[in-house]
Structure formats: C-alpha cells, structure tokens
C-alpha cells in the first residue's frame, strides 16, 4: 500500500510563489501524471514529494506517515531524473546496485535484483559498461532500472523521456507503462507533453501557475475541461472558443446560430467545441477558410469566424480550398460553456439564476 496525500502544500522562492495550496491524493498503484507548461510548478511539487525541496507550508503523507521532515532516503521512494543522473564513475551494474548497497542489502540479494531489473529493462548485456559508453536511451533504461531495483513504494519521474528522440520516446513510453503496471508501484510522473500524459496516466493533474487546475482521468480531462485554460491546453489543436450572447434563458447566439446552453446570470459566455466535433453542413456556423492542411487521416482547416480563429478537422475527401466559406455544425452533446470572467466551466444542469 502506498497512498500519497498532499495537503495544502505551498512553496515560495523568495517573493515568487511557485506552488499555491496544492491538495492531491494519489491512490495505491495509481499512475499520476503532473502535466503543465514549464514554470507551472510541477517539478517543484515532485521534488517536494521526493524531499529534495522543502515546502514552505503544508504536509506530505506517504502510506499514512507524515514525511515532510524526513530525508529523501527514508521516504520509501525512488526517482528517475530528467538528465538520468547515471553515475559516470560506476558501471551499469554498480549504478543499479547503488541504492541497494546504501540500504545494506546482502550481496547475493543485490546481484539477484540487479540482474532481474536489468533483464526487465533489456540491458543485461550492458552491465559491465560505463554510462559514457551508453546511448541516451540505454542511459534512460539504467536510470529506470536503478529505481525499480529498489522495489520502492513510490516511483517519481521527472520528464524522464524528454531527452530522447521521438521514436525512442514512443517505444520507451509503451515499455514504461507495461513495466510500471507490472511492478504495482505508485507512480508520479512529471511531463509537459500532453500526448505522453494521456497515454501513460491513470489520472492527470493539469497544473498552471502553481496550482492544480484539474485532476481527473485523461478522457474526462479531454472531454470535460474544468477551466478554459485546460480546454486551450489539452488537445492538438486545442478547443475552439467563440463568443456566445444570451438570447433568452438557456438559449445562446453563437455566430448567428442559436444553441441550447446553461441558464445563468451572465450575458456572454464562451462557447467551446473541439475541432473534431464539428461537421460540414448545409447550414451552420459560417466560417471563412484561411488554411487547409491535408494530414492524411483528415483535413485540418483553419477558418475565421467573426474574427476569431476556428479550427476544424474534416474528412480528407472534403473539397475545400482557401477562401471558401463553409458552414460548420457542432455535435451538440460535445459543446462546452465557460464563464469569461474566471474561465470556469458552466455545467448545463447548474441553474444559478
């Protein structure tokens, strides 16, 4: 059992507030991804959990044990670093054995565990090499093996794939997911790559400016962004936003079209729809085509709707050219509404008039 609870954690660097009242629970064996742009505080949060950084306030609990006062070595964690931090003066074997030696495991046990994890990560033929003789991908495998060999309660990963080239990243991503599911370890994984986050995570915590904006499973985050920020951050291309003016209670005018929406006190809302949730139609939102990008699977069409940029992914067979005016119809159950003042999503059921 390794459940992680983070309660009211905040971190200030001099006058700069890096983390602001973070509350997060990661349940046993869960794969949690902290996702955000650089500078959002995700790495700082990971380092606070690891004990490499001290929180200005708040509590970190691992396994119903408060750990904020404990040094990293007593927290039952292992970590994979962004630049691998594979010790250059030790062989691959000694690198993987490092933590086990520090915790004074008997040498037969060390040999057994090193060989087992090396086999798991497909590096058993590299055990006698030094890190200088390895490729980036191999070094990455050593770093993961070193963490797994500890059989930790929690494994922390700080952008572990960001230094690999695209193809290798794809391969390691799939492998990492398999290996971690097998090991039944609780994992916290920091990344700025949303595809990586989506593909690995049981749950994603989207972070922005030092706070967690939304923590949910990948599909829910994609479908039901809690804030306009998430809607604009997740998805490539991200959600489209158009201004909606109130026509009547629960009825909204979007670029000349009328849609059912939330009934609320606001006079304008942001109407949001994903590019793949619109179809070409006879009538609909009128859009002037600026760019057409044939991507094979579909056409990515960038249009102008009343001065706002609007992207749609349409069928590759659609016969559309630059300068055309097309009519787009959104899939009604995929429309989302956001409050312009604070960016919060307005749910349809909510009725606060």
């Amino acid at each position: 059992m390794a459940e992680i609870k983070i309660k009211n954690v905040a971190k200030n660097f001099a006058s700069y507030q890096a983390l602001n009242d973070i509350n997060l629970t990661v349940s046993d064996q869960e794969f949690m991804v902290l996702l955000g742009a650089s500078g959002c505080g995700k790495t700082t949060l990971l380092r606070i959990i690891a004990g490499l950084e001290t929180a200005t306030q708040g509590e970190v609990w691992i396994n119903d044990r408060r750990v904020d006062h404990l040094p990293p070595k007593d927290r039952g964690i292992a970590m994979v670093f962004q630049n691998y931090a594979v010790f250059p003066h030790l062989t691959v074997f000694e690198n993987i054995a490092f933590g086990l030696r520090m915790h004074k495991h008997p040498s037969a046990e060390i040999t057994k565990r090193v060989h087992r994890t090396a086999e798991l990560m497909h590096i058993e033929q590299l055990l006698k090499r030094y890190s200088g003789e390895l490729s980036g991908g191999q070094r990455q495998r050593v770093a993961v093996a070193r963490a797994l060999a500890m059989e930790p309660d929690v494994i922390l990963m700080d952008e572990p794939l960001s230094n690999l080239d695209a193809l290798l990243r794809l391969e390691m991503r799939a492998e990492l997911k398999g290996v971690l599911a097998e090991s039944k370890t609780t994992a916290i994984y920091v990344t700025h790559d949303q595809v990586e986050a989506m593909s690995l995570a049981d749950r994603i915590s989207v972070m922005n400016q030092g706070r967690i904006v939304q923590a949910s499973d990948p599909v829910d985050i994609y479908r039901n962004p809690a804030e306009k920020f998430v809607a604009g951050f997740i998805g490539n291309p991200p959600m489209n936003f158009l201004v909606a003016d109130k026509q009547a209670d629960g009825r909204w005018n979007v670029a000349g079209q009328s849609y059912d929406g939330p009934s609320c006190a606001e006079n304008t809302l942001d109407f949001a729809i994903r590019p793949e949730d619109v179809v070409l139609a006879e009538t609909g939102i009128s859009a002037k085509v600026n760019v057409v990008e044939p991507l094979g699977v579909h056409l990515l069409v960038t249009c102008d709707v009343n001065g706002a940029q609007f992207r749609a992914t349409l069928d590759s067979d659609a016969n559309i050219g630059r300068g055309d005016t097309i009519a787009l119809q959104p899939q009604l159950d995929r429309i989302r509404w956001f409050e312009p003042s604070n960016g919060m999503r307005q749910s349809l059921e909510k009725n606060d008039v």
Binding site: L52, M79, S131
Partner: protein
C-alpha cells in the same frame, strides 16, 4: 593558412619557450651530473649519496612530504567542501584562505620563526600566561621533533591553499543531480562524499596531489628559515653543493635525484587515482 597547420602554429611559442628554458637547461644539468671530467660515469651520484648528510636529508625530505601532504589533502578537502556548501560569503572566505599563497615561502618561514624563536610570540605568550618560568629556545638541536613540527606547520599553513583552489574548482564541476540521485537512493552526507565527491574528483585530486608532492620534495626556504642546518633536506644539500662547496656536478646530481623521486611519485599518484577505462569523469 590551412586549418591543419593551425594547432602546430598555436603550440609553437610555448614549445620554443619550454625548449629554451626547460629542456636545454635540463640537458645541461644532466650533462654536468653524469660527467666526471674524463667521461660519462655515475661518480657524482656515488659521491653525493655516500656523503653522511645524504641519508638524513633524504629521510627528512620524504618524511616531511609524507606528513605534510596527507594533512594538507585532508584539510583542503574539508575546506573545499565547506566553501562549496556555503551560500553567502563564499568568495570572501576563499580569498582569506588563499592569502598565504601570496606570501613568499621565505617570508612564511620567517613568520613562523617569529612565533617559535626564543623571544618569539609563543614563548612570550606562554610566559605571560605563566605556563613557563622563562622563555626557552624551542628550535634547537635538542628539539628535533619540534623543528620538524614547526616546519610542517609552516608548510601546511603556507601551501594548503593551492590544493584548496584546485579542489574547489573540481567540486564545483560535479553536477548537483548526482548528489540528488545519491540522496534519493539512500546516501547520507558522508556516503555522498565517499561515493560521489571523491571518485568524481579524481582528476582534480591527482592534479593537486602531483603539484603538491613535487613542491614538497623541493621544500627549501621554509626549512632554511626555521631549521637552518639543523634540518637538512635534499634541496638545501643542492644549494650547499652549488654555492658553498662550489661543486656544480654534485649539485646537479642531487637535483636529478629530486627529479627522479618527483617522477616516481607522480607515476604512483596517477596510477592510484586513474579513472577506469570507459568511465567518463
């Protein structure tokens, strides 16, 4: 100019300089040492090594190096670690600690003489505090141990900073991430020092040690100021042969013996601290 000639052009000035002021004088010294007036021989070496003062000065030189260098190494490592752990005032502390480097070795010897001599600071302090009835001659032939201690202290005070400077630079080059990884995987402060700092510091350690050991074998001015003829070392023998006995051949022979010891110890240091093949540090 073609790019392949550029490296040679760039190293030409320093090669000429070394050839003119190092290799050529070295050749002359070697010639003097191995020439006995009629032909090549080891006569000069036999002469200097069979002189009664040779074993003492040889022993003194080695003992001094064997005692001083390890203490300096330990101190320099400790000081370098402390300096690197400092957040503020690091440069100031480093400057203060390296002040003795700017003082000539003879001056350093005289400073310590001022402490240890009969009317020196140590005597007057102990007398003033009532520990002793009257000042005594601390540095005399009756007190060989004290002479040794005084010289060792002066050398440690004077020349630890050169190692310190090299080690501070070396420790600064070790990436933080290695320490963080070591911490996460269970290494405390001492284990981090043993398992990360020391092995990754090997290149700087060998530079500092080679430099310091060679200088230790050439110790002269400090010894001259504090011990005079009471504590003969190889370098003072060279000096005596050259300028007092006017025997240039013997002086050259002792100089070559010192060179031999230096080379031998350099090889030992480089071998002990060598980085295993394949490891990149």
């Amino acid at each position: 100019m073609q790019a392949r000639y550029l490296p040679y052009v760039l190293i030409a000035p320093v090669s000429v300089f070394l050839g003119l002021f190092f290799l050529y004088p070295f050749y002359l010294v070697a010639q003097t040492a191995f020439y006995d007036g009629a032909g090549w021989s080891l006569k000069n070496f036999q002469e200097v090594t069979s002189y009664w003062k040779f074993p003492i000065s040889f022993k003194n030189t080695l003992w001094l190096a064997a005692v001083v260098v390890p203490i300096q190494l330990a101190l320099a490592l400790l000081m370098a670690t402390m300096v690197n752990a400092m957040k503020k005032g690091r440069d100031l502390v480093l400057y203060i600690w390296t002040i003795p480097l700017g003082i000539s070795d003879l001056a350093a010897g005289i400073i310590w003489l001022a402490i240890f001599e009969q009317s020196g600071f140590l005597n007057s302090m102990m007398h003033g505090l009532g520990f002793i009835d009257r000042p005594t001659a601390l540095i005399s032939y009756q007190n060989p141990t004290l002479i040794f201690v005084a010289i060792a202290l002066a050398e440690i005070w004077r020349a630890t900073a050169i190692m310190l400077v090299i080690l501070v630079a070396g420790i600064g080059l070790i990436p933080r991430e290695y320490y963080e990884a070591a911490q996460v995987f269970g290494a405390g402060r001492w284990k981090q020092f043993l398992r990360i700092t020391l092995p990754l510091l090997r290149p700087s350690l060998s530079t500092a040690l080679v430099l310091r050991v060679i200088l230790a074998f050439e110790v002269f001015a400090v010894v001259q100021a504090l011990g005079g003829t009471l504590f003969p070392v190889l370098m003072s023998e060279t000096y005596a042969y050259q300028f007092e006995l006017l025997n240039g051949s013997a002086a050259a022979a002792v100089a070559l013996i010192i060179l031999g010891i230096s080379i031998a110890s350099t090889i030992v240091i480089l071998r002990v601290l060598r980085v295993p093949k394949g490891a990149t540090i």
